[in-house]
């Protein structure tokens, strides 16, 4: 999928905003939100928060994890661990990018936070490459990937699954029992049968 489609999915996450206007509850298909009271925080989907912010109708309340100390700990933990650690949420990168993109002034220490999130991302991406290589070397037919976020999983497509497909095809076709002499079919036919 395209990164923008993953972003689209991440935009359904609920975050907190402080509106500068008052309105009754709004009944959306994805749920009811409000009432909006100027100055009082309330929960809305991320896409709505971004939209309100762009119209200068609210301040965004940074999620709890968007905090230097919290992120510093996550980064240390991520560096220390051989495995992927659990991220604050499965769309941390989308949330960070969108919130820091339109509402950097609402986030204390936003530029340091930006840097540290990118650091965490880079550590994880490089770990991801190392573990893909390890997965292929160790057999390449099954892997468990807890704590990887959607955007991270999406980044290894199509490379990892297609390499596993290729390896599987090599295994099945090269180890076919040697009844080759009976097989008079044309190559294109045997090609299509691999697909079934």
């Amino acid at each position: 999928m395209d990164p923008y489609e993953i972003e689209f999915l991440g935009e359904n996450r609920i975050i907190s905003v402080i509106p500068n206007f008052s309105y009754d509850k709004i009944y959306l298909i994805c749920g009811e939100f409000g009432p909006f009271r100027a100055g009082l925080p309330l929960n809305v989907p991320l896409w709505l928060a971004i939209m309100l912010k762009q119209k200068q109708k609210c301040r965004i309340v940074p999620p709890d994890w968007m905090d230097l100390d919290v992120l510093e700990n996550i980064k240390e933990e991520e560096k220390r661990s051989r495995f992927f650690t659990k991220m604050p949420n499965e769309h941390y990168m989308v949330e960070a990018k969108l919130i820091l993109g339109v509402a950097a002034e609402d986030v204390p220490n936003s530029s340091e936070i930006k840097t540290i999130i990118k650091d965490i991302w880079d550590i994880r991406m490089s770990k991801l490459r190392t573990s893909m290589d390890a997965l292929m070397k160790s057999g390449g037919s099954y892997g468990r990937l807890d704590h990887l976020t959607l955007m991270e999983i999406n980044s290894v497509k199509p490379l990892l699954p297609s390499a596993m497909d290729d390896l599987h095809r090599i295994r099945t076709t090269s180890k076919r029992p040697t009844t080759a002499s009976l097989n008079t079919s044309t190559f294109s036919q045997s090609g299509s049968s691999q697909n079934i």
Binding site: Y27, I29, K57, L160, D165, Q189, S192
Partner: protein, 217 residues
């Protein structure tokens, strides 16, 4: 604006909310995008959501154009329309690509009443195949010697690769998923704990995708 009426599904007595329908559609869309084969349709959900959208659009028209709520609703509707369009288009792409195979399978499924395609999709598949056939005949076969004019449709069939590897997240705990081991003839069993994520072959989990026990990611 009026609260959205809860939607009633006629066949089942159970009431489900628009929110649930939307969530179901979104996960159906994700699965359809990521599964190699065509999945059972969710036409009831699509119809239901289209009804909601119409209802909502009528209400939006009653609001003043500059009303903030109107633009919020419009934005939400665009998001939902995107999901529905992309979902339906993804299915059509698969129907075109695996046309011959899908029609053959669907005929068998129709006998047992477990069809995957909606009536409209099935009609589309059949017409697509007819058009392809007559195109190939007009352009090439009719100009060939008589003994070379037959079109061997089944030889041309393209099959989805069910052995392809997919990423999934377990919605429920599922124990004993059997992974075929081609090398050592010793099949491996794994458990999918709720919330865990895996990459594995599609074939052993195809049914779990269809029953919603796992979500492709």
């Amino acid at each position: 604006m009026d609260p959205i009426d809860d939607i009633e599904l006629s066949e089942e007595e159970e009431e489900i909310t628009a929110e649930t329908v939307l969530k179901t559609l979104q996960s159906a869309w994700q699965n359809e995008r990521l599964a190699p084969e065509i999945l059972p349709h969710h036409n009831d959900m699509v119809e239901c959501m289209l009804g909601q959208i119409q209802h909502m659009e009528r209400n939006i028209n009653k609001l003043p154009k500059t009303d903030l709520r109107a633009s919020i609703h419009k934005m939400e509707l665009s998001r939902i329309k995107f999901i529905i369009c992309n979902y339906l288009r993804t299915r059509l792409n698969k129907i075109e690509k695996y046309c011959i195979h899908i029609i053959n399978e669907e005929r068998q499924r129709m006998e047992s009443g477990t069809n995957y395609l909606t009536p409209a999709e099935f009609k589309y598949a059949q017409e697509y195949l007819l058009n392809m056939e007559s195109h190939l005949k007009n352009v090439v076969l009719d100009k060939m010697p008589g003994n070379m004019q037959t079109l061997e449709l089944n030889k041309m069939a393209i099959y989805p690769n069910l052995q392809t590897h997919v990423f999934l997240k377990a919605n429920d705990t599922v124990s004993c998923v059997v992974l075929e081991d081609l090398v050592g003839d010793q099949d491996e069993e794994i458990d999918l704990e709720e919330g865990s994520q895996h990459i594995l072959q599609y074939k052993p989990v195809a049914d779990l995708v269809k029953t919603g026990k796992v979500q492709l990611v």
